[in-house]
Amino acid sequence: MFDLLIVAAMLWCAFQAVRGTRLLVAALWLAGASALTALLMFRLGAPEVAVIELSVGAGLVTVLFVFAINIAGEEPPGKLRSLVPAPVAVVVALCAVGLGAFMALPNLRSVSGIIQPERFAKVLWEDRSLDVLLQVVLLIGGVLTVLGLLVEGRAQARKELQ
């Protein structure tokens, strides 16, 4: 019953994040969905990733959203209409969900024969060391890209002032 409540609240938060017109409110709903996703991950037996998702997904990303919305400002609500007509979008999304449910839900059987007793740190640092390397490359690339974007914007603003 508790799991059902978590899933329902998570989907409600995600729907509100997508539906809302105010960006700041949408960012807060997204943080709620992220926190509930982390709770579900913990219930599924993945506590390490749940903690990371809670701190990064609900913490860092929300702070970044608020920061970006403060700088960029909000568009007036109701000004932007959707690219695809809303009924068509709903039908497409429902078809995708229905297809996924048709393919995935009947095959939800756990394989009891394979048991992985290793610790998370051992699997991450030894078995999946290439993933760690990829994460480092992604971090450096992301930081350099953001720095480049912000420096370019600052230089342009300075040029306009002159």
């Binding site: 959203f65 394989v111 992301g142």
Partner: protein, 103 residues
């Protein structure tokens, strides 16, 4: 079966994927596009953890999920920085207004 944790998690995964797809389809605001993408990726993260649990390889599922979290965060940061620059340059966050190839 219907109230088991794997089944409910699978329903959550499908719901998040559907809501994220809907958000990407209906919005024209650049920052809302990033919000829709975040919801979509949350569904993918949950699917990875669920697949790890069902296959009995929870730690491998967690390791792959960690990689996706890092990649998703970088994508969000870069997309938000781009949105801020677009707002400074064009004065709007509207996707349609950014298309200079239309006319």
């Amino acid at each position: 079966m219907w109230l088991s944790l794997p089944f409910l998690s699978a329903v959550g995964v499908l719901g998040l994927l559907g809501i994220g797809l809907l958000g990407l389809l209906v919005t024209r605001n650049l920052i809302k596009v990033v919000v829709g993408l975040q919801v979509l990726v949350k569904g993918a993260l949950l699917a990875l953890v669920l697949a790890g649990r069902l296959s009995g390889q929870v730690q491998t599922g967690q390791a792959i999920t960690l990689t996706v979290i890092v990649a998703d965060t970088i994508v969000s940061v870069v997309a938000l920085a781009l949105a801020v620059q677009v707002r400074r340059q064009f004065g709007t966050l509207d996707l349609r207004a950014l298309s200079t190839l239309r006319r």
